[in-house]
Symmetry: C2
Subunit: 337 residues, 2 copies
DNA sequence: AGATCCTCATGGAACGTTCCAATAGGTTTC
DNA sequence: GAAACCTATTGGAACGTTCCATGAGGATCT
């Protein structure tokens, strides 16, 4: 059960521990004979360098900690892909810990990362107060992903949600829609900007008197509830723009079971381009975000501070992308009287 | 940027480093005055214990490493919930790393965990060879989750995939089906037992000459390809049992676009009961598993070895549960005349 | 032939903790 | 009033590496 150490390898190979260390790090700087002897001894013993000891003396771990608020959100999985890829490429490793949508557990996850002395930190969709995060950021580079901030210490990377909403409205208007309703998700991350983007876009098209917003949240159930409310009003819009794909799917269910056709009677646009939006039976028109790119960018921001000594905060914003599928089409002519 | 150490705290509080250490670990064993002085100094400096140094001297990290083959699979998210919960309860922490459905990257993730000297390891849906994992298991407790093994060194926890497959077949037979095809996922975790369970169940019903298996994998695309192959054969079964929900959804797309009706022309059963299976437009009949429980059990198995010195391997099996939705129904009588 | 310069290898300090044996000083016991 | 026993605290070794200054020995130069 006990793991062999560098000393064991040194003894077996008949060299000093320093030489073993050198072989592990820079094999070229060692004579052929020694290198071979060391590698052989290491293989025979099943030696594996102890990262704990190395981290202690080097005072860095080459690990980027990723605290993600919710493991279930497929959005984060793609972002994590990008993080992992970029980190590996630069000689770092990514280690994940979940906050499970709970500020307290998120705090515990963060604390663990700090005690483990990760070199940098990426927080995905954090639920913690920015002030707390800023305090953490005094001791290591921290990047906030999927959440806006104008902090002077914490970097951030996100998508231009306002532009995403505009793209959705523009698309619907181009199809001929005018009566476009919005389901909002209140104050949840990203939601306010999507809502204001929707309103701004409507105004730009001279449709300010068509602005109509129903409050809900980011869940399927919330979307269903909002859509039920819209149907009950008796005043059916020709298109609905939901705050995310889950809410859109909820709305979709309600529209389906009311016997209405999508997009014949109502066009529907979601947000996030989750995997489920691509399922042929769902085929949801939605706004995509370059998820893996966001992850890569977050890593870059961390490493700029770590390896290139950047001191001032940066806030990167990526452009969203309209993904047209089968839930949007031209409005019925008779409906537009 | 430099973090304060135990020495800094000791100096500021006017005590020895040993006393500071004691205050951090067992505050009751220290006089009130000293304790207060130390805690005050620690707070003022923003001291945070260095887990790296502690791990080195204690030769354990109190971390359970979780290597998961695929972050995108919602199945694992639930399992991870259970792991995290159980670990925290027992004073351990869970740290995740993804293998991204690639044996090489999984191996790298595993290697990192080993170098970090995690105390125990849980592998979720691993794609690695059992022999490799057994070798790892000689140096720390390893539990394999979602994959079967009769290993004498590695513990495992999973669902009785054979019983799950039987439940699927029994359900279809009860509806009147006889020509039931299976899409298999080859050697991927859990797949072989689902396949053999299918075959066994078919035989039990006297349907051995109806056994038909098409090889694919656990992805949507794989399911689609297999279903395309089945359709192209010209010999359409009345029901298809897929190896998981993703593959089932892939098959569903192909059936849909061939103009066939589900379940009118073909009944379809998935496996895993993912969230997407519950979407009304999908409404997939599938086999559910107690996911969080699996995670909790995995932690228990690791800790039994760690803290209770168990030496012999254990293999825990949980029962699966049939979830009937809208993709299964009685076969057409004329069998497509 | 001595000085200089390589290449290869070594020993020891350091990293920030924990843990243990030891100590100082006070209190209780007989 | 000495012995025995507390309680509160301390110094130093140890954990397994890396890194640096140093050295041994051979080749090259003047």
């Amino acid at each position: 059960m006990k793991q062999p150490t560098i000393h064991d390898v040194a003894e077996r190979a008949g060299v000093s521990k320093s030489l073993v260390s050198l072989v592990m790090r820079e094999p070229d700087r060692v004579s052929d004979a020694s290198r071979q002897a060391v590698l052989e001894a290491a293989a025979e013993l099943g030696y594996r360098p102890n990262a704990v000891a190395r981290s202690l003396v080097q005072r860095r771990t080459r690990v980027i900690g990723v605290v993600l608020s919710d493991l279930h959100n497929p959005f984060f999985a793609d972002v994590a892909d990008g993080i992992e890829e970029a980190a590996t490429l630069r000689g770092y490793r990514a280690l994940l810990s979940s906050g499970f949508l709970d500020a307290k557990r998120e705090r515990a996850a963060l604390e663990m990362m700090l005690e483990l002395r990760v070199d940098g930190l990426i927080m995905l969709g954090s639920m913690m107060k920015v002030a707390k995060i800023e305090k953490v950021a005094t001791s290591l580079p921290v990047t906030l992903l999927g959440r806006h901030t104008t902090s002077k210490v914490v970097d951030s990377v996100g998508v231009d949600d306002s532009a995403g909403a505009r793209a959705a409205v523009d698309h619907l208007v181009a199809l001929g829609h005018e009566r476009i309703a919005h389901i909002s998700a209140g104050e949840a991350a990203g939601a306010p900007r999507r809502q204001s983007g929707y309103k701004k876009a409507m105004r730009r098209h001279g449709l300010e008197d068509q602005i109509r917003s129903v409050k809900a949240d980011f869940t399927e159930r919330g979307g269903a509830r909002a859509m039920t409310e819209i149907l009950a009003s008796g005043d059916l819009p020709t298109a609905v723009f939901a705050p995310n794909d889950f809410a859109a799917v909820g709305a979709m269910e309600v529209i389906d079971s009311a016997g209405l056709d999508i997009p014949g009677d109502v066009s529907l646009v979601g947000y996030d381009n989750l995997g489920l939006a691509a399922l042929p039976r769902i085929a949801l028109t939605t706004i995509g975000q370059p998820r893996a790119d966001l992850g890569r960018t977050a890593v870059r921001l961390v490493l700029e501070r770590l390896d290139e000594d950047r001191k001032t905060a940066r806030h990167e914003v990526a452009p969203p992308k309209l993904v047209v599928r089968a839930t949007t089409g031209p409005p019925r002519h008779d409906a537009r009287g």
